[in-house]
């Protein structure tokens, strides 16, 4: 590359070089990082301003009759979903990672499939499937010879237990993903040592593998919990009034935006707890990766009966979290196409959805890369604070973020419009809201934390001595990033990108509020149909969301398989424990 020489010079002010002590501490990375952090923080600041505009007596009503119940229900829901995802995710990950049994290769990736099913879709699928007039209970009554649902019914799914059940079975893959990777990377030495010392397989799991995997479990659970906090469709649909739902109803039915903003801020404290859990877990994790020469774990072949049992245990979450809802959507879609045909708007909606999500994913990854790399380059608290700030968006439910974004976006539009009119005589009008850029902004602000998280994890596996070597050989910070880090970070980049893409595609509340006139995505189409109570009409859009969502999950699966091979490579450059 011909210009490389000059760019190295311009980049050499990084704090890693001795010259840094004489130069100002800020650098281009920090400036971009600051801009990203500002962009994410702006809607939250706007929200705080909104909250402070609340009328007197409002807070009394909130603390008196809304918050106690909403906080209680939110905590119960989080506890339930946390336990369920931890048990399912860790259990299946251990079976798949350390054992061999019939179908193991299939379950290895199939256990990720529920990741493609958004929470609001699984909720309405199960309401239909488990309803007294739905297929399960109808078949059950036929089996028992009971005529009327008045004589025999299963408990209603519209309850806290039902909500925990459906959320748990679509969110466990977060735990499965992180924990399985940890089990695969764990040194076999420790486990062999334990077995030599006479530990049984159960003892190895409970006393060696599980404690070592605890940080991974915590990271997965905290991701699942953040998803739970953001969910509005499933909880609202199943009648669980969480804080998120309260924010929503306070804003919508009382037209009380300040009140909604205040509950949102109360909610942030719960979020902070979850994020702290996640941070703690990440800090713990490096002790688990401490081995000098990790070897892959030798899988223990299960005998016939145990093997079949393991297959059944792994099949259950796939069945509940993916096969049943998908089967239901296919069934409903076929019925719908027979009855009314396919809406001609669907192809355009697919294109809109993919386009918006793809643009947002690229921007998110680039922004996250800069923010995380700035932390690696920088000394002092500034880059860290900026990185934390840039990750705040994920903690704010989409609806709330969208309300905060509105004044920010229209403010930018007003400034640009005034400037353009004065200088060029051209009015730019609502160029952000009118072009879909506002939706992309919301996606980036909301999902930056996901890609930043996976990049952080990726960077932590690259020893600083590698940076030092690159810099000694004359590469600047930018070249080191592009030619040294990015190739090594490929799995982390891909994982981050795919998670962001799927989340963008499923995103509903911000899309609903910020999209341009006459612009529909699959999610907004689905929502429009679902709130009319015409679920069958929504089935086509829902099936498409699941189908498109499957593509990145399947790519994730392929990468995951390759990731096993690369684990050895990354392990060899892993930072020493003292780092």
């Amino acid at each position: 590359m011909p210009q490389a020489g000059s760019s190295i010079k311009s980049d050499s002010i990084s704090s890693d070089t001795p010259a840094a002590s004489q130069r100002p501490r800020w650098n281009p990375w920090l400036i971009v990082s600051g801009a990203v952090a500002l962009a994410v923080a702006a809607p939250i600041v706007a929200l705080v301003v909104t909250a402070s505009a609340g009328s007197e007596g409002l807070w009394a009503h909130l603390t008196g009759s809304i918050l106690p119940a909403a906080i209680r229900d939110t905590l119960i829901l989080l506890t339930g979903v946390g336990i369920l995802t931890a048990v399912i995710g860790t259990g299946t990950a251990w079976l798949v990672a350390a054992h061999d049994f019939p179908g193991r290769r299939i379950f290895d990736w199939a256990l990720l499939l529920p990741l493609a099913v958004p929470t609001y879709i699984i909720a309405y699928a199960y309401l239909d499937v488990m309803h007294p007039v739905g297929p399960v209970q109808t078949a059950l009554r036929a089996l028992l010879g009971i005529d009327s649902p008045r004589d025999f019914r299963l408990p209603d799914i519209r309850s806290m237990a039902g909500c925990i059940f459906v959320l748990g079975f679509v969110l466990y893959p977060y735990v499965y993903l992180t924990t399985r990777a940890m089990f695969l990377m764990q040194s076999a030495n420790l486990i062999d040592a334990a077995r030599t010392l006479g530990a049984g397989r159960r003892g190895v799991f409970l006393r060696i593998a599980l404690p070592l995997a605890r940080p991974a479990v915590a990271i997965g659970v905290s991701l699942a919990l953040l998803e739970t906090l953001n969910d509005i469709g499933a909880a609202e649909f199943l009648g669980v009034r969480t804080l998120t739902v309260s924010v929503y109803t306070t804003w919508v039915t009382r037209s009380d935006l300040p009140g909604a903003a205040q509950i949102a801020i109360a909610m942030l404290t719960v979020v902070v707890l979850v994020v702290l859990l996640e941070r703690w877990a990440r800090r713990q994790r490096r002790y688990a990766n401490d081995a000098q020469h990790p070897r892959p774990l030798a899988r223990h072949r299960l005998r016939r009966g145990a093997g079949v049992a393991a297959a059944l245990v792994c099949a259950l979450p796939v069945l509940i979290g993916f096969i049943v809802p998908t089967w239901y959507l296919v069934d409903q879609t076929i019925a719908r196409i027979r009855f009314a045909g396919i809406s001609p708007a669907i192809p355009a909606e697919v294109l809109n959805t993919v386009l918006l999500s793809a643009i947002a994913t690229v921007l998110t990854i680039v922004a996250a890369l800069v923010v995380v790399y700035a932390v690696r380059l920088g000394r002092g608290a500034a880059p860290r604070v900026l990185a934390r700030t840039a990750s705040l968006g994920y903690a704010v439910p989409g609806t709330v973020l969208a309300i905060g974004l509105l004044p920010v976006i229209t403010g930018i539009e007003a400034i640009v419009d005034t400037g353009a009119t004065r200088v060029f005589g051209v009015s730019t009008g609502l160029f952000l809201l009118g072009s879909g850029a506002a939706v992309v902004y919301a996606y980036v602000a909301r999902f930056l934390a996901i890609s930043a998280g996976s990049l952080e994890a990726g960077f932590s596996r690259v020893s600083p001595s590698i940076d030092a070597a690159a810099r000694t050989l004359g590469a600047g910070a930018g070249r080191t990033l592009l030619q040294v880090h990015v190739p090594m970070l490929r799995p982390a980049l891909a994982t981050g990108a795919l998670l962001v893409f799927v989340d963008c595609m499923k995103e509903l509340p911000a899309t609903l509020l910020l999209r341009p006139l006459g612009f529909e995505t699959l999610a907004t189409h689905l929502y429009g149909e679902a709130i009319r109570g015409t679920y069958e009409e929504a089935a086509i859009a829902a099936l498409l969301i699941v189908a498109v969502g499957l593509v990145p999950v399947l790519i994730l699966v392929r990468l995951g398989v390759r990731g096993e091979a690369e684990a050895g490579m990354t392990a060899s450059v892993r930072a020493p424990a003292s780092d």
Binding site: S10, D156, F237, F339, G434, E529
Partner: protein, 344 residues
């Protein structure tokens, strides 16, 4: 390399601005821009008919929540011409937030009765729906009052959507106008004890739940009965619609509670003439007939035909309480719902 990246970044930004401008100029023709909280499927036939008749294209965006926030934030640059809602509370909110403008249209004033439009032409009702009682077929009841919904006779037998849904807060606000706060609290507590399942879902779920034996009575809007029984939602929903009987309840000494769908002209409407034309079209005989036929709603225009399925529910005697009085009690209604923990 670094600098290259920055330059590219500028290029992307410039392109984004250009795309934005292109998007705006495309919107600048004499179309009507409609912001609606109404599900697009329900009004599309009406909009198509309007376009066919006048040649004016309607660009619509369905914003279920946050309509007011979005229009307010867009301010003077807002492309919105017509604001349409499915609840008079939301409509009056828009007026109170200064997002609408008055219009003086004889066509509208002649077609819409005085109690169904705002002062100075700030808003107009376009169609009505009644909040009715769905009941199991074998129940021996022919008349019902809203007050009875809280009676101990129905413990564990009532299905209803969220108490915070605008359709319900409007009904509770009407109860507040009639009976005051204490009686309404007692009534709500009674209803809460009567719930057979969590107060959630939609009105059609009520019919399905009655069919599924979860509850005996429930509350829903009149037009859902038409949508279900008319077969519009497919054979499955037809079964739900046929599994219930429908009673037009009244307040003691009053009539049946109705809500409206309605519209207003946005304050900074860039195409006001076309916007007024759209509203005038929506109260024309042809459109009012479409409201009744396509959506099973009650027309606001006197003498317009009602769909046979809806007519068969019985004669609608609209509760005389002015909608603006009810709208004033919405905040209090919503607070009561929280205080009794209706949705919890």
């Amino acid at each position: 390399m670094h600098n290259n990246k920055l330059r590219n970044g500028r290029g992307v930004l410039a392109a984004a601005v250009l795309v934005g401008i292109a998007g705006i100029s495309a919107e600048a023709s004499a179309d009507v821009n409609l912001y609606t909280t109404r599900e697009p499927g329900l009004i599309q036939p009406l909009l198509d008919a309007f376009t066919q008749e006048t040649g004016i294209k309607v660009n619509s965006i369905f914003v279920r929540d946050g309509l007011a926030e979005r229009v307010a934030a867009e301010g003077q640059r807002s492309p919105a011409d017509v604001l349409m809602t499915v609840d008079f509370g939301n409509l009056i909110d828009l007026v109170e937030k200064g997002l609408t403008q008055p219009i003086d249209s004889e066509v509208l004033n002649d077609a819409v009765p005085e109690n169904l439009r705002g002062e100075d032409g700030h808003w107009y009702a376009l169609s009505m729906r009644a909040r009715v009682v769905y009941a199991a077929k074998d129940l021996d009841i022919d008349s019902f009052t809203y007050e009875q919904l809280g009676d101990a006779e129905w413990r564990g037998k009532l299905c209803i959507r969220s108490g915070q849904h605008p359709y319900n807060t409007a009904m509770i606000a009407a109860h507040l106008v009639y009976h005051g706060e204490e009686a309404t609290r007692t009534w709500l507590e009674g209803m809460k004890q009567n719930l057979a399942r969590a107060a959630t879902g939609g009105d059609r779920d009520v019919a399905r739940d009655i069919m599924g034996g979860i509850c005996d009575i429930g509350v829903g809007n009149s037009y859902y009965v038409g949508l279900m029984r008319g077969g519009r939602g497919g054979p499955e929903q037809q079964k739900w619609g046929d599994a219930i009987k429908v009673i037009l309840p009244t307040f003691e000494g009053g009539g049946t509670h109705v809500n409206i769908s309605g519209a207003a002209i946005a304050r900074y409407s860039p195409n006001k003439d076309e916007a007024v034309q759209l509203l005038e079209y929506l109260v024309s005989d042809a459109a009012q007939k479409l409201y009744a036929e396509a959506n099973y709603e009650y027309p606001v225009k006197e003498g317009a035909a009602i769909d046979p399925i809806i007519a068969a529910l019985g004669d609608l005697e609209v509760d005389p309480t002015p909608l603006t009085d009810i709208a004033q009690q919405r905040g209090a209604a919503s607070r009561l719902v929280d205080q009794v923990g209706f949705d919890q």
